[in-house]
């Protein structure tokens, strides 16, 4: 850890400057750069070979990519939905969905007055500028789109130029398929095979966009890469695909997501993220997930079924996942590491908060294949309201994984007595020298703690936020600085209304 502490302040400056300018933009100024999505741009409803062909054509993909997708689709037809996770939801009808530029199922709000007041209150507390709130809430206004903002920011171009000077590629996956086909052919699905699981296979057939990052040998990426700044970010929609490759001796830190809650018309989200780290390379991947969790009864919330996996392919490589999960009606997500290279290391730091009717089933897998591989898991689950929060983790050592080491710490905090927290660890060792340690605790915020805090002047909500932030401190410190403060605020807001 501490690797990004010594990244030059350049990163700080650029990030701050970029955030500021993106935020201060007057979107109307960019209306001419805005591509209107016209009616004919919509794929036919439902999932079929035609849908797959349509998407591929829209993206101007080469034949090999279309073939790849069609193969995935054929495979998908043989699979059925997994049922092992502790989540419950009405059956999803894949034929009743759009896979490209979905039309609004309900008329889009035409002003913020029509948006869920709870969502607005949250924007207010996060201090999000008015115009940005409209975009996030999906308010329909002529000639305004978040894409326009992103595409037209000259600072983003500067940012990209900065990166290309050191040979880093950071672009959309669609662009990469056209511009860097040999890399895509070599690495796509090399970590998450097409047939990996139901959602990953579906994603392979119909993914619409995502990020591509390539860090050449020996290069330390001079700034945090963030989806927030990614150029050409079209509405990536339900099926995002991300691929990050770190060549030998390189380093990159990637941030995904945003603390602002995003509303999206499409209920099902099934992203795939693949990371590849070669010898001595290090990838840090941080996520703040705050999709719309639905109203107080859980209606309208997003189902988030994600497959994220990192391959520590090279010796002494390192992949670390840090995630803050506060949104979505349902989260099904297990960022994992395959510790293939000798001496490689995997880390998973997670904060999963559930409130209201949210259901979270999340955790990680650490697959030790190489010698002297090590992994560390720190998972903090916080359940409030009527929510259900499950940690599901697997640690395994292959027969050749001599001296594999794992440490797992899994803590749950319950707020109130209508929620549930569960820990489901799977441990599997085929090598006698492996040492796996697992610690788990479940605690509640006690009435005495609440009274003590209140006696010192904190309101119930402030007290819960303070105690929860204390509870997740070990994980918070692994987040990049600029995310940390926002995340603390987000935690407080996510738990509002959880007491009293």
């Amino acid at each position: 850890m501490a690797n990004y502490d010594d990244i030059p302040t350049l990163k700080e400056n650029i990030d701050r400057a970029t955030v500021d300018s993106v935020r201060s933009l007057d979107v109307d100024k960019y209306k001419y750069g805005f591509e209107t999505i016209i009616e004919s741009d919509m794929a036919p409803k439902g999932l079929s070979e035609d849908t797959v062909r349509f998407i591929s054509a829209k993206k101007n993909e080469p034949q090999w990519m279309l073939d790849w997708r069609l193969e995935a689709y054929a495979r998908f037809l043989t699979l059925s939905e997994p049922t092992w996770a502790k989540v419950h939801y009405p059956a999803i009808d894949l034929q009743d969905m759009y896979y490209y530029a979905a039309p609004k199922s309900t008329p889009a709000p035409t002003s913020l007055d029509e948006v869920d007041p709870a969502l607005l209150a949250m924007y207010d507390k996060l201090g999000i500028p008015l115009r940005e709130r409209e975009i996030l809430a999906g308010v329909e206004r002529p000639n305004v789109a978040v894409d326009a903002v992103m595409d037209s920011v000259s600072v983003v171009t500067t940012f990209r130029e900065e990166l290309s000077k050191v040979g880093i590629i950071f672009c959309s996956i669609s662009e990469a398929i056209r511009e860097y086909p040999e890399m895509i052919q070599k690495y796509l699905a090399s970590v998450v095979p097409v047939s990996d699981n139901y959602y990953a296979t579906l994603n392979s057939a119909v993914f619409t966009d995502g990020s591509f990052v390539y860090i050449p040998k020996g290069v330390r990426c001079p700034m945090e890469l963030s989806t927030y700044f990614r150029i050409n970010e079209k509405k990536t929609g339900q099926f995002e695909r991300t691929l990050i490759i770190a060549e030998a001796d390189s380093y990159v830190s990637y941030l995904e997501g945003c603390t602002a809650p995003m509303r999206d018309e499409s209920q099902l989200h099934a992203a795939v993220v693949e990371l590849v780290a070669m010898d001595n390379a290090e990838i840090k991947y941080s996520t703040v997930q705050n999709w719309y969790p639905g109203d107080k009864d859980g209606k309208g919330g997003i189902y988030n079924f994600v497959t994220k996996r990192g391959d520590c392919r090279g010796a002494n490589s390192k992949i670390s996942w840090t995630q803050v999960e506060t949104g979505s009606a349902i989260t099904w997500k297990y960022p994992s590491c395959i510790l293939r290279g000798d001496g490689s290391r995997g880390e998973f730091y997670s904060i999963a908060i559930s409130n209201g009717r949210q259901q979270v089933d999340s955790g990680t897998k650490m697959i030790h294949l190489g010698k002297n591989t090590s992994s560390r898991i720190i998972a903090k689950g916080i359940a409030a309201g009527f929510s259900d929060n499950t940690y599901r983790g697997q640690v395994s050592a292959h027969a050749k994984a001599t001296n594999a080491r794992n440490f797992t710490q899994c803590d749950s905090l319950l707020i109130g007595d209508k929620c549930g927290a569960h820990t489901v660890p799977y441990i599997e060792s085929r090598n006698g020298t492996a040492v796996f340690e697992h610690e788990a605790t479940t605690s509640k915020i006690s009435d005495d703690q609440m009274f003590y805090c209140q006696q010192r002047g904190l309101s119930e909500e402030d007290a819960v936020a303070l105690i929860v932030n204390g509870f997740v401190r070990d994980v918070l410190q692994h987040l990049p600085m600029e995310f940390m403060v926002e995340t603390q605020k987000l935690i407080a807001i996510s738990l509002e209304g959880s007491v009293g």
Binding site: S446, D448, F451, Y452, Q454, Q455, R456, G457, S459, L466
Partner: protein, 253 residues
């Protein structure tokens, strides 16, 4: 006559179905320090909790006035912002929350509730340093989670430090002397005495006359079976020390 900081009138309170406070009457004028002594289980801590507004207790009769205003309908945090501070007999551990973080959160919450501006970090640090030096709470301790793994004496010093920073109108000290060694007793007493002022009142609950040599009270009350049964000057404490509580049992019955 000016309004006393604290006035308790015929206070009755119960927990679950058991009545613990059975008609407490007490007036503490501004600037005065009153001591309460009484047998184990007589209801002293209960009185302090009821003053601070702990949920578990139900006030069935009577009134509590702070600066002439009833506080019975106020939440504990509102009472705190209005100036009630309770130094706990058993301070509660708050895992993961650095003492420093907690102090800042508490001070700013109270300031906010009173419509004052939040403290800026340099000013906060200056105040913490000052209070820390006086109560011998070092920086290493301030970085540790509040009360977690603190020794008995450290917990009590941390309580008084919070009191010094929050500058309450009414300080309620519940057995602050228990668990303190001789030197720590001096340090804590000095800290408490430094806070004595014309605009502040204190209620000091203790079992030992010794504390009252350091924090000299204006009035001493004897508490028995949920009410005050005798009041006097500081010599009453000496008398109790010599003879015990037997003389006062059933005195008010």
């Amino acid at each position: 006559m000016t309004t006393p900081i604290l006035e308790i009138r015929n206070l009755h309170a119960r927990i679950e179905d058991r009545e613990i406070l059975k008609g407490v009457n007490l007036i503490i004028p501004a600037g005065e320090v009153h001591a309460i002594m009484g047998r184990n289980g007589s209801g002293k801590s209960t009185l302090s909790y009821v003053l601070a507004g702990k949920d578990d207790y139900e006030v069935t009769e009577g009134e509590i006035l702070l600066n002439g205003e009833s506080i019975l309908e106020m939440e504990p945090n509102e009472r705190a912002a209005a100036g009630v501070f309770l130094a706990f007999q058993y301070p509660i551990e708050i895992p993961g929350v650095a003492t420093m973080t907690f102090l800042k959160a508490a001070m700013n919450a109270q300031r906010k509730a009173r419509g004052e501006a939040e403290l800026l970090t340099p000013e906060f640090m200056r105040l913490v340093k000052e209070a820390g030096t006086q109560l011998q709470v070092d920086t290493a301790m301030l970085k540790r989670p509040l009360n977690v793994g603190f020794s008995g004496g450290e917990k009590k010093r941390a309580e008084i430090m919070q009191m010094a920073l929050l500058k309450p109108a009414l300080c309620v000290l519940d057995e602050t002397d228990s668990g303190l060694d001789i030197d720590a007793l001096q340090v804590v007493s000095k800290g408490v005495n430094a806070l004595r002022s014309d605009s502040r009142s204190m209620l000091v609950i203790t079992h030992y006359q010794r504390l009252l040599n350091h924090i000299v009270p204006d009035v001493v009350h004897v508490f028995s079976d949920g009410r005050i049964v005798e009041s006097g000057d500081k010599d009453l404490a000496l008398q109790l020390e010599a003879k015990g509580y037997a003389d006062f049992d059933g005195a008010a019955a």
